[in-house]
Amino acid sequence: MTSDRTTERLVWDLPLRLFHWLLFCSLSASWITAKIGYDVRQYHMWLGFWMIGLLTFRIVWGLVGPRYSRFASFFPRPRLFIDHVRESFRGGAKQSVGHNPAGGLMVFALLILIAAQAISGLFVDDDIFYAGPYASKASESFAGIMSTIHHNAINFILVLVAGHIAAVVYFSVLRKQGLIRAMLTGMKSADVVSAQEEISGSRIWLAITIVIVVATAMFSLSWV
């Protein structure tokens, strides 16, 4: 049914969907390990390194990936955002093919905050056993600022994630736009996506190449 090309068209490429759900799982796991504390701190750090790799892939994919994965396709534009919100309250916002203007803003905010969260962690030292790879290389005041960011940005991330989930559930359940299903299958209805708007494929080989390059670069930093 999902492969019925006449009623459904591909919008979200496979690498983007994998990134999305891997980021969701990794972020959840790293939040939980942070809450558990010292005993699982090693896993928390590994999750952070892994997520920096994920985000690096996403940044490259935002430049060279298929249409709706590109940052240019959902770069926040205040005019569009205001129009979208106004129409949404009237109940008649046009369904977007990729991210809607509010969703695009959310994606940018989440990516930036999660990146800040992960990178600041590289400078944190727990004064006991575990220290980020750059904790002892930065000046004390800089490491202190990074530590403050690391212990506070998560609260903003949690608020945004709650808003993101609430919006997606609202559009999926009450407005029947099937956004969650679209992020799983990549498909949206042909009523929303015209034949010209559909992406031609997932560029899997390009994605694999990027993953290899990013992974090589990450391992060469020898954080682990």
Binding site: Y38, R41, D126, D127, I128, F129, A138, S139, F142, I145
Partner: protein, 201 residues
């Protein structure tokens, strides 16, 4: 190394300016530092006045409750003492942590010496935290829950003492692996207490 790089210094200076929290903390420290001698000066003269003549009953009744600056002075002092104990613990644990992380060669005499010190320092912890500084305006990472659940906190101290004792005992042997395992065990006691009783900065 980092201080030699003007660009990096510039960046961190900008970030400090941008970060209101860091600035406030700094200014707090500055104010505390500048006013400390004043407080000590007052304390000295008060003490002399008090010891000159025993207060009469009437004077005692009329005596005002302890004034706010005096409470703050006691809290400030208490915070300094407990932070000093923890700094010494950190200082003595540091070399062993580096050994356990294979960042420094194993050095049995250092482990023996430092583990005995840690054992002693752990015995000072209860006294160091005896003064309840809840509600005072001292800059501290000590959470209120320390004084809200004293039994739980005492349990953490006991675990630390036990682990430090076990390490000191282990350090008397020549078994490097088991000594380093005991270092890890001791670090775990530090971490599990920080999880519950120390604020993340």
């Amino acid at each position: 190394m980092s201080d030699g790089n003007p660009v990096r210094r510039e960046i961190s200076a900008t970030l400090i300016t941008l970060s209101g929290a860091a600035r406030m903390k700094k200014s707090y420290r500055l104010v505390a530092f500048l006013t400390l001698p004043v407080f000590f000066g007052c304390g000295g003269s008060e003490q002399t006045a008090a010891s000159d003549a025993a207060p009469t009953a009437a004077q005692q009744v009329a005596a005002e409750p302890i004034s706010a600056p005096e409470i703050d002075r006691a809290s400030q002092r208490a915070a300094e003492v407990r932070q000093s104990v923890l700094k010494l613990i950190s200082n003595n644990f540091g070399p062993m942590r580096n050994m356990a992380r294979k960042e420094a060669p194993f050095d049995a005499p250092v482990v023996r010496k430092n583990s005995l010190r840690l054992h002693q320092l752990s015995l000072m912890m209860a006294d160091a935290f005896a003064t309840d500084t809840r509600g005072s305006d001292v800059v501290t990472e000590a959470l209120d829950v320390i004084w809200e659940t004293p039994e739980a906190f005492a349990g953490k101290i006991e675990a630390l003492t036990t682990a430090a004792g076990a390490l000191a005992e282990s350090a008397a042997s020549a078994d490097e692996a088991s000594i380093l395992a005991a270092v890890g065990e001791l670090g775990q006691k530090c971490g599990s207490c920080h999880d519950d009783f120390r604020q993340d900065d």
